[in-house]
Symmetry: C2
Subunit: 213 residues, 2 copies
């Protein structure tokens, strides 16, 4: 039903159309899964013909990969604003992490968990996607590492190896999110604060030191 009908074709600049396509693909990938990112599905969503998608992305896998990157990059900035981001002021590495652990506990994070599982599995067969997934995984890690390093500088955290700590914290986050499509319900309680608790241990914080006030 999205802007159905028309019939009259709307001609846009290549950059704008391309952006639209990637955005639509990212939305579909996030909500319905990356295997639903097909020429037909994206074309329908935009009210254009499938051929147009092929014009911008002759190889569908490249669109899938870009959709994934678009979705996760945006999400990362929402969950963990970079040090350079305008909304971040100095001296709040602690608060940034507190906010992070609150956000990933919310139901809004479920789609992201599903997307990561989706992408990590699909990477087994799709090298182009795989490269993007690896790249994004490392971006997320580096972002955490950066915040940890900042917090160590501010004397909020105590940590010898911010990179290793970041890798471990994210692994636990991913582990706790791994059951989102299956037995998540049966595991709720024991996993509720696991990632936060591990992070507190990694960063030399007292219990609940990363819980939002």
């Amino acid at each position: 039903m999205t802007s159905r009908g028309a019939g009259k074709q709307v001609r846009k600049s290549a950059a704008e159309r391309r952006g639209e396509i990637v955005a639509a693909a990212a939305r579909v990938g996030l909500q319905e899964g990356l295997e639903c990112v097909t020429r037909q599905r994206i074309a329908d969503g935009l009210g254009v013909q499938p051929g147009l998608i092929h014009h911008y992305f002759p190889v569908v896998e490249e669109l899938v990969a870009e959709a994934f990157t678009s979705a996760t990059a945006a999400e990362l900035d929402g969950l963990l604003p970079s040090t350079a981001a305008p909304e971040r002021v100095g001296g709040d590495a602690l608060r940034t992490l507190q906010r992070f652990f609150t956000l990933i506990s919310g139901a809004e994070f479920d789609d992201i968990s599903k997307l990561w599982i989706n992408a990590r599995h699909l990477s087994r067969y799709r090298p182009v996607l795989r490269d993007q997934v690896v790249s994004q995984e490392l971006r997320w890690c580096h972002r955490i590492e950066q915040i940890i390093a900042e917090g160590v500088g501010e004397r909020s955290f105590r940590c010898d190896d911010p990179w290793a700590a970041a890798v471990r914290i994210l692994a636990v986050v991913d582990g706790a999110g791994a059951y989102i499509n299956t037995s998540a319900d049966q595991r709720m309680a024991p996993l509720a604060d696991l990632a936060r608790r591990i992070a507190e241990a990694e960063l030399g914080l007292p219990a609940d030191g990363l819980r939002s006030p």
Copy 2:
């Protein structure tokens, strides 16, 4: 090339043939991925016609689900022999877990990690598979819980809530295995002993208490 040719049809008992099919499907699912479990692929592997697969599994998804269950159930018994298993003697909960953490560090565990990711993602679209995945996830959890409880009885472990501990330990195991298709190489070192260390903490053991002698 597997028993190619023939041409002469070989007639087996329904139970035997069915077992062959599931075994072949489990092998394909484990090594190539569950989406490679198709009528054609399995028939080729067994040197029969695709129609025969349909005879035993009119709905392919049911074969996929059974293949998954077959593979993971066998693996569970290999990694964590049940208390009732013949090779387990009394008083070795500790040794069983030590062995477990050694085994999951080996490269042989990679295919299992891939299979779990595969199945957890596919469960998003396939309800029949999903039920089996949930069931197996809980089986793995219960097996660990059982061993923890046994170890607590033997005074090897200290743990108030074996179920919660089992859930958390498996979550970390899954988290550390989540990158097997993507950035596993870049994360090796920090994740090497993460699951074992977390388990030691959960079970009130000293550092390296679960490392194999």
